[in-house]
């Protein structure tokens, strides 16, 4: 028994193959476009579209090169060993306290946000039409649109003032986790939604329950998406400034391990504060902090793109 021959489009010399369209509305649209002259002006519109795309590309490229060039030029000259081994002393010294504080807050943010985000994303991706999934999606979309300063202010009023946590590591981590949560959630939702229906049916067909299916099969399959969400959350937590002003505060000392009642230093505060100081040493600290933050975010961005490409 021979296999059926593959489908071949009927070729007519000089004319591209077009499938027969049975949709009456589509045919009516085509007649309308052909009669209105839009078909004749299509090359012009195409040229306009490509020109706008090229202009946007040039604009973005120039802006990014400008920013990176400025930060590299001024940041590299400000870098020294002191930056990495000494804490800040007034308007000088190093940035060890800020580097350590940023790392601590990033870790705390991941601990708080990743389990919740992965769980919510898995639920949204595997059961997209469930009412809870739609609710999570709505809140997630809304939370992405809320300015981070509003979240910072709300957390200042609730955590710092009402609950009495004061400027602290815990308040900062909770705020950053709330900011990162929708991004992790959406990335994970996309990753879990991309799991093939065949795999899902196969897992349930061999008798696995929901917990086994998600933890042992779906989560490993969605790992690239999960990792991308985690890296994105990490870059957000490192680069945020406004909400941390109201929740983390600033400290010239290294983190003493206390989660509450003790402010903590972070790199973005150094940029925000020291760039406006009239002293060269303070400006150098700001540019060094900017270089460190930008390099880290750039590395994370490249890593997440590589992971996505590998998927």
């Amino acid at each position: 028994m021979t296999a059926a021959p593959p489908f071949q489009a009927p070729l007519v010399l000089g004319k591209p193959y077009r499938p027969v369209v049975h949709d009456k509305r589509l045919a009516a649209h085509r007649r309308l476009i052909a009669g209105s002259g839009l078909a004749r002006s299509r090359p012009l519109w195409s040229l306009l579209g490509w020109s706008l795309c090229a202009a946007a590309l040039v604009l973005l490229g120039v802006a990014m090169c400008w920013i990176l060039g400025t930060i590299l030029f001024k940041g590299v000259s400000a870098l020294s060993l002191t930056i990495f081994i000494e804490p800040t002393q007034g308007n000088g010294g190093g940035l060890l306290n800020a580097i350590e504080g940023t790392a601590v807050m990033a870790l705390g943010t991941l601990i708080l946000a990743v389990p919740l985000g992965v769980a919510a994303g898995a639920y949204g991706g595997l059961f997209p039409d469930a009412i809870w999934a739609r609710t999570i999606r709505f809140f997630s979309d809304t939370l992405v649109g809320v300015p981070s300063i509003v979240l910072g202010y709300a957390d200042y009023v609730i955590l710092v003032q009402a609950l009495g946590w004061h400027f602290s590591t815990a308040a900062a981590c909770v705020t950053l986790a709330i900011i990162c949560l929708p991004y992790i959630c959406r990335f994970n939702e996309l990753a879990f939604a991309a799991i093939s229906p065949d795999l899902r049916q196969s897992v349930y067909a061999i008798g696995a329950n929901e917990r086994q299916a998600i933890l042992l099969v779906f989560l490993p399959a969605a790992t690239p998406g999960v990792l991308t969400g985690v890296l994105l959350a990490l870059s957000i937590s490192v680069g945020e400034t406004a909400p941390l002003l109201y929740t983390a505060g600033w400290s010239n000392y290294l983190w003493n391990g206390h989660l509450f009642h003790m402010p903590i230093a972070h790199l973005t505060y150094a940029i925000w504060t020291f760039i406006n100081e009239p002293l060269a040493s303070a400006n150098a600290l700001a540019y060094a902090a900017a270089l460190l933050v930008t390099s880290f975010v750039l590395l994370l961005s490249v890593a997440s793109r590589l992971i996505l490409r590998a998927r």
Binding site: T142, G145, V146, P147, V150, A154, A242, L245, W272, I275
Partner: protein, 78 residues
């Protein structure tokens, strides 16, 4: 924050041209919190909370309209 750094944060005045200083609601919250904390009556803090609430409501409203448009477009394509 970034807008605040370049906008000039002109309080209580409308910009006369596109190159004039301007203030946004978010930058107003950032710039005024320090002085608001020093207000013993608490009125300044509540004022900033109202601005934050307006920003939040605007975000929710825009998001709701966007979702409605997407839903409407999806239904019309079917």
């Amino acid at each position: 924050m970034d807008v605040l750094m370049v906008s000039g944060n002109a309080l209580g005045s409308l910009p006369s041209n596109v190159f004039g200083p301007v203030s946004t609601m978010a930058s107003f919250i950032v710039s005024q919190l320090d002085s608001a904390l020093a207000d013993p009556t608490g009125f300044a803090i509540r004022s900033l909370a109202e601005i934050a609430l307006v920003l939040c409501l605007m975000s929710v409203a825009v998001n709701t309209v966007a979702r409605s448009l997407l839903s409407y477009a999806g239904r019309s394509q079917q």
